[in-house]
């Protein structure tokens, strides 16, 4: 019988396998599909603790996760690092999470407003401060904070949508009433900004690559492995903003017990020691 689907194939040497090639390839397709589905079947049960943490916590939380996993066999800590705002947006869109560590109280409040954190459950666990950072060979020849206003300087800040960017703006606002700075200084500094980066880390990358003459980041950012590529100028307390980091369990956490344990660990002596190793000021009274 002439197979209608094979009608276009020349009569000579037609391979006789199964009647219908379309159905054959269809069968193959279904088989592959089943194999793929089988490959997706659940792995051995391991509890995953989902931690949403501000970008600036990347190094220290990665280390904490390892320590926490070692102390709690069977628990895997998966950390989602991003700007605090972005994390809150994700939480507001019902992203599944167990713990939220924010780089500022404002975003913790936003998470409470979004209904993902219960008011009063957040605890401050670390403090951070701003610092001006330059490439090691200092191409902009910066000596003082006033030099940030030098004409032609390439300055990179974080965008004000992320906490470190807002703190950088706060620094400029605070200089308005400070002797030796003032409005002209602020305007000159803003004129020197060539980019508003998405995070302190992105600022640091541009500076350590030598593409920018200076940037403003967290003190803890230069405690990371780029320490030998950059130098810094301190910002005095009066002009600096002390960033407070709150941490809280997520209201509808899938792993509430482990979330509580993780919080406990971050606030413990060992956890606080790790934070101070990475340049954070701790909260222990």
């Amino acid at each position: 019988m002439q197979n209608p689907l094979m009608a276009h194939v020349p009569e000579i040497k037609r391979p006789v396998i199964i009647g219908n090639t379309a159905l054959l390839s269809f069968g193959t397709f279904v088989f592959v599909l089943l194999v793929l589905l089988a490959a997706c079947s659940p792995a051995p049960v391991v509890i995953t603790l989902k931690v949403f943490a501000a970008s600036s916590l990347q190094d220290v939380f990665t280390k904490m996760a390892t320590a926490f996993e070692a102390a709690n066999p069977g628990v895997k800590v998966a950390i989602n690092f991003a700007g605090s705002q972005q994390l809150v947006q994700q939480l507001a869109q019902s992203a599944s999470a167990d713990v939220f560590a924010s780089a500022n109280p404002a975003q913790m409040t936003a998470a409470i407003k979004a209904g993902r954190v219960v008011s009063g459950t957040a605890k401050d666990f670390a403090r951070n401060r701003l610092v001006v950072v330059m490439p090691k060979d200092n191409p902009g020849k910066l000596q003082t904070l006033q030099d940030l206003g030098k004409p032609g300087l390439k300055l990179v800040l974080a965008t004000k949508e992320v906490p470190v960017g807002q703190y950088s703006m706060d620094y400029l606002t605070k200089t308005l009433n400070e002797a030796g700075f003032g409005t002209a200084y602020r305007d000159a500094v803003l004129k020197n900004v060539v980019s508003y980066e998405e995070s302190a880390r992105a600022v640091l990358s541009k500076v350590s690559l030598g593409e920018a003459d200076a940037g403003i980041i967290y003190l803890t950012d230069i405690a990371s492995d780029l320490k030998d590529k950059v130098i810094s100028i301190e910002i005095p307390d009066a002009l600096n903003t002390v960033a407070v980091y709150p941490i809280a369990p997520i209201k509808d956490a899938e792993q509430p017990d482990h979330a509580a344990k993780f919080l406990e660990f971050v606030l413990s002596k060992a956890g606080q020691k790790m934070l101070s190793d990475y340049g954070f000021a701790t909260v222990t009274p």
């Binding site: 019988m1 197979n3 209608p4 689907l5 219908n20 379309a22 159905l23 269809f26 397709f29 700007g83 705002q85 972005q86 947006q89 191409p139 390439k154 990179v156 965008t159 949508e161 992320v162 900004v193 060539v194 980019s195 508003y196 980066e197 998405e198 992105a202 541009k206 690559l209 030598g210 593409e211 920018a212």
Partner: protein, 262 residues
């Protein structure tokens, strides 16, 4: 036996549903989230207009560069025969498979102040990083392959007899290019250009790494969407819808042109 064909076709159609729904759902969600009022209000806001304007001007510059410098490359690659030509062909494919962030870092290391060409450019008074030029270079880098590939196929499809006939009639190389090659390859060139433009319009990773983010200078629509996501979801959604509408129109246009030429 005749009823098998439509049955199998129906099954294929059924099996194609999951992925198509998966494509469609996020887009529908995006449009559903954006209220017309918010789009109207955001369209007149300064940051949004700046981002749209910058995206428009930079992508126009990029596709102009892609067109002028892409045509010779496409001509070269219309039928890659030698090993070197095939190698070049693969090189042209590379930007489409590289993650844009890799492209951004590579561009920074090549054209940045401390990059390969940086010191030389700096001596000539040109600093590329953090400028609008960097945006254009990033877009050109990631989008050029789409045009080159499409143009090469269009050139390869030209009947050699026509060219030889024109030569026989005494047409010069430029005349042949102008009156035979270009008109015959036109649809392929335009559709390639539209694809390149759409890719340039969506370019994000290479831009934010190489050009940075400064409203009015380097903040194109995708960057404004990303930064907006951290602060103002309304602006981000509005820009996303506009970007999606533009890309969709561009692709439809490209396909229509291609179909007409067939």
């Amino acid at each position: 036996m005749n009823n098998r064909k439509p049955a199998a076709g129906g099954l294929w159609r059924l099996l194609s549903v999951p992925l198509l729904v998966f494509f469609l759902l996020p887009l529908v969600a995006l449009v559903a989230r954006a209220s017309p009022e918010s789009i109207a209000a955001n369209l007149v806001s300064m940051p949004v207009r700046q981002a749209i304007g910058l995206s428009f001007s930079t992508t126009m510059a990029s596709i102009a560069i892609v067109f002028v410098f892409g045509i010779p490359v496409a001509w070269l690659l219309k039928s890659p025969r030698t090993r070197l030509e095939r190698l070049t062909d693969t090189l042209v494919d590379l930007p489409t498979v590289l993650p844009p962030s890799v492209a951004g870092i590579a561009l920074l290391l090549a054209f940045g102040r401390r990059g390969l060409l940086g010191p030389g450019l700096h001596a000539m008074g040109v600093d590329v990083a953090f400028t609008t030029l960097a945006v254009v270079l990033a877009q050109t880098f990631v989008s050029a392959p789409f045009f080159i590939k499409s143009a090469a196929i269009a050139f390869a499809g030209i009947d050699i007899d026509l060219v030889q006939a024109a030569e026989l009639d005494g047409a010069g190389a430029w005349q042949i290019f102008r009156h035979i090659t270009m008109p015959l390859a036109w649809a392929g060139l335009v559709s390639g250009l539209v694809m390149s433009w759409a890719r340039a319009l969506g370019e994000f990773g290479a831009t934010i790494l190489f050009a940075g983010n400064l409203p009015g200078v380097t903040q194109t629509m995708p960057l404004a969407i990303y930064i907006g996501f951290e602060a103002n979801l309304d602006i981000a959604v509005t820009l996303s819808v506009i970007l999606m509408a533009l890309s969709f129109t561009a692709l439809l246009l490209a396909k229509a042109l291609l179909n007409r030429s067939r």
